[in-house]
Symmetry: C2
Subunit: 429 residues, 2 copies
């Protein structure tokens, strides 16, 4: 686990404040390695997947280095898709919350160009766009790159796969190759190397290292459910398995707190563990978790660092960890001291990519696990009821009850009907 | 429109703070009318639907009047379903954020009873439960109602419809009918009146009045989309209709701000209007909206009170308004000064009920409008392109271009192919 904090990376206070507002505790590997290099003005190639925090890795320095208040854009960020352009713009807007004079404008196809013309005219310091639409604006003369100081190619390999090579080269030639050039790419095939050689100046190569090794003895599952169903899914899994101690990981402090409320509303003895809590409060929570007064702990990666509780039955990754190393550390909180354990990671949509990346690094495939239906939860409860009954039967001493029931069994009801009725009375509602 | 604020209702500061944290600006009708009466200790029957803010209407006084730190529950809230029990508990936990000594425990079927036993043992001041499971706990002796001071029957008519009449009577008899009894019900059939007569002491009858009248000239639609798709749906509708000024209503200040960020990330000139903003800032935003510098305004009901802009094309109800009166006021922001206008309300799940209630009060059915597909957005763009072309054709003066194209048309290409190619070049990407 890394020990650095955002404040050690040379980020200005206004942006640090926004990072804290967003609930992030510590930089991911790629952020820790890239931010200082980009701030130092170097060209850089980051090998990173979606979900590793790469947007902030280039977004924070881009924001910090953007030419505040200038009329022409000083930063251009290219993304393969409209969706990613929206997402990157959204993150930049959040990061810029306390920064004055930096406006980010997205330009992508499928949106009336008039809106973009208006926005560009007002003066954007950062432009985020898909290559096609950016070329379009360049040709119309509505986007001028004369004052450009930084170009970022996000998911460069995807852009090449989508046939944007010519567009990219054209855009880079507009920027005259004199600006700082940053590239993020999951893979580095020959075509990427060509772009590097032609347009970049001795780029730093930064890669999330694949040193992660998977935890022993943990059954690792992936569960595909809609985001809004994750809390319900966790509840059902706990009810079905009868788990006692559960750890739920979230990527931000803020989400930890709201999740705790959601679990409490379902009757769980739940609490949070994150970096905004003072050490004595954290120790108290940890003790309560250890002795079972808290059954469900919602934690961030940083806060869970010292978590050495031996009896955790299930680790849930409510959010996909931003780093395979985090994944291994998280799931290693269960199956300790020779016990068995289970780790369940939630997935849908874009998260599948990050999960595939984790699988690649840890060299293990996560097994698909369907969300338990409420029927299955019910059934598994029945099974545990049957276990209880067997238990009582084995202990014996039932004569007295048999005597009481016999007259009934000689009437209209068969003994099995009577047993069923008793079971209903005992366990239903 | 109401003019009161939460602070005028006799609510203690700790709870007011939480209400503000939650982003609510002003009480809804039912809250305004019920909270002072309940705080005064009166029995009360509130006729209100889901989505009118009724949970806070009884939740705030319940929390304020609960016996802090006592071992036995002083408040019991009964709900027809497990889902509603979870929802009510969740809201109480949020309202109790700054209150010490009040714990709320949910008890409902379908969850291992052991978890509930543990929670009740620790000492709950407020218990929220479904009647069946509450009876179960009463029989086991794990829930004691000797110290009860308030019973709330939420969605009482639903509970009767679900066959809980006997259970309800039994629970009310446990509480000996001596506690303050509060009931919320969408309808007041005979069975409800019977309960009122038997268990309540001259209850105040409070009803959201049906005086709302619908705005003239507004086409009113309802759009069924997943919650996470609402921003996308709004973008598509705006792109398809070419709307210039749009108003998006949200129920909380906090959501206003995050929505503004989402729309900005899509390139909209968007801003917020809510009660946390100083008056001079609000005036500035309003002016920008009036002269088109802001094209999309995200507002709360309270902030939009003085909004007298004549050219609003569409009003979106991102959140279903909590009161039919709010609905009428919201949609009245469009179709002003003899212009046409359109109002689109988003719906799914539990919201359908609130929408049906609004329809009943305003005496109009909202027309279903499907979410535009991205193909339709594309097509409508084509149409506006055709309009542009017709415009140019009508203006004439094209001789020079015809001369240039003629040689091409005498070759392998038909004139229409050439026209198509030009259209592609002009409008695509």
């Amino acid at each position: 686990m890394k020990n650095s904090s955002f404040s050690a990376l040379g980020i200005q206070p206004e942006i640090l404040k926004a990072v804290n507002d967003m609930g992030f505790e510590a930089p991911t590997s790629i952020q820790e390695k890239c931010i200082p290099e980009i701030l130092a003005g170097k060209d850089l190639v980051g090998q990173a997947q979606t979900g590793t925090g790469k947007t902030a890795a280039f977004g924070i320095p881009a924001l910090q280095m953007a030419n505040k208040g200038s009329k022409s854009p000083s930063v251009l960020i290219l993304t393969p898709t409209r969706e990613l352009a929206i997402q990157v713009t959204g993150e930049l807007i959040k990061l810029a919350k306390h920064v004055n004079g930096v406006f980010t404008v997205p330009v992508y196809g499928g949106q009336p160009i008039s809106r973009q013309l208006k926005a560009l005219k007002k003066g954007a310091q950062i432009v985020v766009g898909t290559p096609g639409r950016v070329i379009d604006h360049l040709k119309r003369g509505t986007l001028k790159l004369g004052a450009l100081e930084m170009v970022v190619l996000d998911e460069a390999d995807e852009m090449l796969n989508m046939g944007f090579r010519e567009d990219l080269e054209q855009i880079l030639s507009y920027s005259k190759g004199k600006s700082q050039t940053i590239m993020f790419s999951a893979t580095v095939p020959k075509a990427i190397k060509n772009i590097m050689n032609k347009w970049m100046d001795h780029p730093e190569m930064i890669k999330v290292e694949g040193k992660a090794q998977t935890a022993e003895g943990v059954e690792q599952y992936v569960m595909e459910v809609r985001d809004s169903m994750r809390v319900e899914a966790i509840s059902r899994v706990i009810d079905m398995t009868g788990a006692n101690l559960t750890l739920v990981f979230s990527n931000t402090k803020r989400r930890c707190d709201s999740l705790v409320q959601e679990f409490q509303a379902r009757g769980f003895a739940a609490d949070a563990l994150h970096g905004d809590m003072r050490q004595n409060v954290r120790d108290k929570v940890m003790n309560k978790f250890r002795n079972g007064k808290i059954e469900l702990l919602v934690a961030t990666d940083v806060a869970a660092r010292g978590l050495d509780v031996d009896d955790i039955d299930i680790v849930f990754n409510y959010d996909v960890p931003q780093d395979p190393e985090f994944y291994v550390h998280r799931i290693g909180r269960t199956a300790r001291a020779g016990k068995s354990g289970m780790a369940i990671t939630f997935s849908t949509g874009r998260k599948r990519k990050s999960i595939r990346f984790i699988e690649k690094i840890i060299g293990t495939k996560l097994m698909p696990l369907p969300m338990p239906s409420s029927k299955e939860v019910q059934l598994s409860k029945m099974e545990s009821h049957l276990d209880e009954i067997v238990d009582v039967l084995q202990k014996g001493g039932l004569r007295e009850y048999i005597d009481q029931l016999e007259p009934l069994a000689e009437g209209d009801f068969s003994p099995i009907e009577i047993a069923a009725a008793l079971m209903k009375m005992k366990f239903e509602k």
